[in-house]
Chain length 389, copies 4
């Protein structure tokens, strides 16, 4: 894409969800449609804050939504299930059902072709992205990864080097994990990528090389909602007061698709690792900080986190802080997904390429920055956004 | 005091506690002595952080301690009581007992003289301050108010205007509350004042005029420890994520002298008001936010706060965060008192006068600033301290 | 009523709610109708447990509902408001709306007649009860007090003695509080009374004399839901293990009609006193145990209780237990109201008179018994119910 | 032992700890000595309650303590470590140090003899028990298992049948886990056994046969302290109110020896299974109820449990209760160990044999009873104790 493309606000922007019928994507779709029709206030949408609302981003109601999924359940049906789980009111689903049906028409089902090489699969994904852009007259398409969390891939030379990767993709092995295969296709199709899961998606060195080659910006990884967000807000307080955290134990109970996915030890290890960088970076030392993630189907779409923070104060006196966080994960994640799509579209329009550390505000494991402090990240985001126009 | 006075680090600095035998002052004394002898790490001491440790402040172990109280219980005895309550180890008390006895020798008992005017009382206080400075060869003395919290004073013209105050002080009425009478005497004696309680201390307009006249800096008010500190760390997170706080209910249970004092409804109203400004300033709107303070003698020197935060996210979905804070108030407050004495001494040495908004980091109700965000306050403090030398 | 009246199960039983358009009564009505139509399981209904379900009680779906209120809002409208507050699903309201409209037809509005004596008012209430019984061919009517909590009445000789009361009722003074005036009328009309609020209702000595005279059973007072229920379940554990509770501080935040009513200090004092008997009776000593009730309108129909229990174990070691209880008060109270109506109807049919201590299981301040232990109360209830047939 | 042995109260009773230098045993020793010298109140000692204090049990101060351990750290040193961890005051350790040194003299170190059969090891243990009884002129010795929790043993015919076991003990295999080998030796030496860990100790069928043969009583298993105790106190409340528990998720963080031992997945599985029977037995159905045990060394001798209970009430409305329990495990366990030793000694004196279900009050996994309700268990215990004299 070239400089003749209109500015972000004036351009037609598409958002392509990977896992488009999942909880987060469905909530994002319901929300985007509800905001387009002024049915709700933009609560939870960071890009509605002063300094971002006026930064020339594409309007949230103007985003054209599409995506891939392996299932074919209609979005309105998924939305009703989420409404039954208390994620949003039933009445809202009824109001946006026509819009959801339109989005349904733009979703593509991903089916495994037996014996196909990964290159073949990537080509089909790439074709779907091109078709989405053309059919809808879009100036650009941001791809957002909302696939289930999976274990990290086994080491392979193709992960580290683009040339080696190109060779490997023609072979019989599944060298790339799903999230990265999609990123590969997205970059080839000229699309910026938001990695909202623990990834790895675009983070593999080989894919970073590809993004650079294509002149594309990307952001990630692992949306920071709930417990990790609170950690990133609270830990600076302990640091600022010279209070020494001696342990910070965290327990998460959650149901839903995410709960089921994280019941897999490999996936959980990936997630826990992504969460694990916040404390040492903020505190400057590494307290004992186990993170337990426990699937409790009964929790449905809701998550409860409980953290127990033991810390030492003046003269070595030991004190304790505990918190519980009772949140609806899709509610927390969906607006961030829309925020990131808008911001990365604007970054693309402004010619930014490569990883975008200023978007670290949104992520548990922010690429290109070691600053996990919520306040400092917000400052960085606002400054960066101010420079986009 | 003039420019010929040595720099803060080189000067001899005295600290004069009002309420010198109280929990906070005793803990500060034990801590200063323990730090002087390298018995403990400077945990909890903000001025031990990079950017402050090297800002040319007087050494914490070099501070010369004195103060007023109405009781005469020896400091070592008070320290033993606090050790029994788990505030610090008994062994530490034994190690610093000789030092505490030296401080005892510098404390002055305040006795009410029946029929005396407030001017008479102020004069006696002023004389004590002069004597402390001279007897100990001090370059400057910082006065720190650690008196019990009291109801706010009834309106009187003398509170608003220095000339009217001077007239009123000769009359028979108690126009000034204790904290402000001490501030009056301190300013007259050329001493900077830290108002660590809800005050009003030096905040009355008449006293602000006096500080200006005397060219003295002062700071306040109400040390920010525990629940309010957590509020000021967490509320910016909700704001940054455009999450709408609909209520934030707070319950504090505490014993000790402070618990008993706050069982008085007037004192509690003063304290609750001081706490009440944090949320509206940070959030930009004023959610329902009752603060209950309940005396539970059984808690001793410990306080437990419980906060229930209800907030709305995307599409109006209601979520909840709760925290408990189990802290030892004197442990949390004492290092801040030493921090403030060091910082205000340096400000005085640097010729600063009037209220010091950059010290707002330490206070629930910071004078001269509406910014209550912990991170922003730390940035302001570090910048200010960098300019002191 | 005489022995020729049919047994409880065979008889037609009316339930007359005082405060019939309030949250608890409306929820009880929705539930009774839903149970009559088998739309829901009897979750929360104690009388559905083995030992009670088969005790010959009137069927919950057979109860004929009526009542008094001062407002005239249709029940279906109140039910919709409660559904919006998450008390039950909207779909359920739609399903029972015809039934609610029938109940509406049996409700009577209470209007103050200026200058009327309390006897005049009582006579009108009594007439309404007679009419309800006759119009609906009922064998008996149980009156259930669900009025807002009010301050305790000022002392008056008429409260203590029935003869003095009869004289006073003709005078101009409001000698009886509302709950007791209703009880007076109910007893005169031959109706057993359930006092579900802190009362005093039928507990005044004068009214106890009247109940005895009329040969009527009654039960009370103050439904035990939420925090007090948990207290009564947990305190026996500390006692059984010889652990010494040194303080038990309780904070309740709640909105709704009840929250607003309890914002009145007199009403709150009445409520807190009613809650205050549980611990000393169970523990055998009286630990520091403040109960704070705080109105937070934002909580709507939901209540959150937080309790902090400090206790001493072996060798004096201090430990802590905390709990939070996030409950919907009307959901918790409504089934108990139906339980009590069924049980008191059966008691009446069995010829029981006077206060019924075996119903103490349901109350914070059980009449005629000092046993507050949930398990022991359940045993007593089951034994008593076994003897009713 | 025969009928000529004196009654429990008059007899000389020995208590032999397996794991005698561990946290629980050391705390029990400190406590027994402190109680003997009237230095502390019997807080936490169930046998100090009315109905047990007067049941003719051996005096707690009269118990003669001995035991086995693999380490040789002096008890006074272990006690000092525990005092540093806040388990009891340092002053108490000083006061009982002479007594601890006497106990030290009665402890025997267990050393592995390479190539020895399990029979050989059992014989040495048995000899130690005989020597303890004779050297101290004891009428009976109760053996209490306080070994670290271990994985359950692999199946083997010798576990199920005494004859097969006798054969296997001569062979080269380690057929019995440590806890059961000690039980074997104890029963052979004529000693009743308390299984305070998840075992299996005396619970193996082969050992039950041996206990029966020897006419010995025994009790177990897994002391019920902390979270499981609270569960057993709270679950009956939900059942009594017909509230439906849909999930009960539990998280435990703990340090100390027990935390380290439970970091082993096999040991944790054994512990979790032992905890897992409480809810289904009390509720009558089996809600989703994961129990997570997480080692956090920083917690030292303290454990914090957090439980999140989701339940349904009337009309299906979902509510939540949460609790935290901040306890010192050794403080909670040690008095129960003394209780059990006293009670089992009295049972032995009264000629009781086999498993003692009435002692289920003390255990997570009570042998011979499915009743886990704290209140019902206390009733059973009191009745049983009343029949012992
Ligand atoms: N909700 C949050 O707060 C949050 C925060 C950070 C990260 N995340 C991550 O976001 C992701 C999405 O979460 P969710 O709750 O929506 O999960 P979900 O399980 O509801 O949705 C995942 C969707 O991906 C689809 N899918 C699976 N494999 C696919 C494939 N190969 N190609 C295309 N589609 C495929 C599934 O059919 C499903 O519809 C998860 O990885 C989660 O960890 C969520
Ligand atoms: N600890 C905290 O976290 C914290 C935080 C903010 C503010 N504060 C405030 O600090 C103050 C001190 O707290 P504390 O716990 O040390 O209280 P405290 O009750 O232990 O000590 C107060 C001392 O003041 C003395 N005193 C009373 N009247 C006096 C008078 N007229 N002149 C001189 N001395 C007098 C008392 O004898 C006592 O020794 C309180 O106002 C408290 O609200 C404490
Ligand atoms: N919900 C619980 O868990 C619980 C537990 C114990 C006790 N209670 C008590 O039950 C009572 C009812 O609670 P609620 O939540 O339904 O309250 P509510 O305020 O919703 O209902 C009270 C009703 O009484 C009506 N009323 C007021 N004055 C009246 C009068 N003089 N005559 C007739 N009607 C009158 C009001 O109009 C209202 O409709 C309260 O006293 C509460 O304290 C409730
Ligand atoms: N504390 C509680 O609340 C509680 C409750 C229920 C059960 N328990 C159980 O009680 C047991 C003891 O707990 P603790 O905290 O005292 O543990 P601990 O680790 O402090 O003590 C165990 C002791 O056993 C010794 N030991 C190990 N192997 C041995 C062997 N083969 N022979 C003899 N001694 C040996 C160790 O050296 C150590 O001194 C654990 O199994 C724990 O699970 C404790
Ligand atoms: Na204090
Ligand atoms: Na209510």
């Amino acid at each position: 894409m070239s400089g003749s493309v209109p500015t972000a606000a004036g351009a037609r922007t598409g958002v392509w969800f990977l896992g488009a019928r999942g909880s987060v994507a469905t909530t994002a779709a319901v929300g985007a449609l509800a905001l387009a029709d002024d049915l709700v206030a933009p609560t939870g949408l960071v890009t509605s804050l002063p300094g971002l609302a006026d930064a020339g981003l594409p309007g949230v109601g103007d985003l054209v939504l599409g995506g891939h999924d392996v299932t074919a359940t209609p979005l309105a049906k998924r939305a009703e299930q989420l409404a039954d789980g208390g994620v949003f009111p039933r009445a809202l689903v009824r109001a946006v059902t026509p819009g959801l049906e339109q989005v349904d028409g733009r979703l593509r089902q991903v089916v495994a072709h037996s014996g196909e090489s990964q290159r073949g699969c990537a080509a089909r994904i790439e074709a779907d992205l091109h078709a989405f852009r053309e059919d809808n007259g879009l100036d650009r398409v941001v791809v957002v990864d909302l696939l289930p969390t999976r274990p990290l891939p086994a080491p392979h030379p193709g992960l580290d080097d683009l040339d080696a990767l190109e060779v490997a993709l023609d072979g019989p092995d599944e060298v790339l994990p799903a999230s990265s295969l999609y990123s590969y296709a997205a970059f080839r199709a000229g699309c910026p990528v938001v990695e909202f899961t623990p990834g790895p998606g675009p983070r593999l060195p080989a894919l970073q090389q590809l993004a650079e080659q294509q002149g594309l910006p990307w952001a990630g990884s692992d949306g920071k909602t709930g417990e990790t967000l609170v950690k990133a807000a609270l830990a600076p307080m302990f640091a600022a007061r010279a209070l020494r955290v001696t342990s910070w134990a965290a327990m998460n109970i959650l149901g839903g698709g995410d709960g089921a996915a994280l019941a897999d030890p490999g996936a959980m290890a990936n997630k826990a690792q992504s969460k694990g960088r916040v404390l040492p970076e903020i505190l400057g030392y590494d307290p004992e900080a186990p993170v337990v993630i426990q699937n409790v189907a009964d929790m449905g779409d809701w998550k409860t986190a409980w953290d127990n923070i033991a810390f030492e104060g003046f003269l070595g006196t030991r004190m304790t802080m505990q918190f519980t966080w009772q949140g609806c994960d899709s509610t927390l994640a969906a607006p961030l997904v829309l925020d990131l799509a808008r911001l990365l579209a604007a970054a693309h329009a402004a010619g930014r390429t490569g990883p975008q550390p200023a978007l670290g505000f949104f992520f548990k494991d922010p690429v290109g920055t070691g600053d996990h402090r919520v306040s400092a990240q917000l400052d960085a985001l606002l400054e960066w956004a101010g420079g986009l126009r």
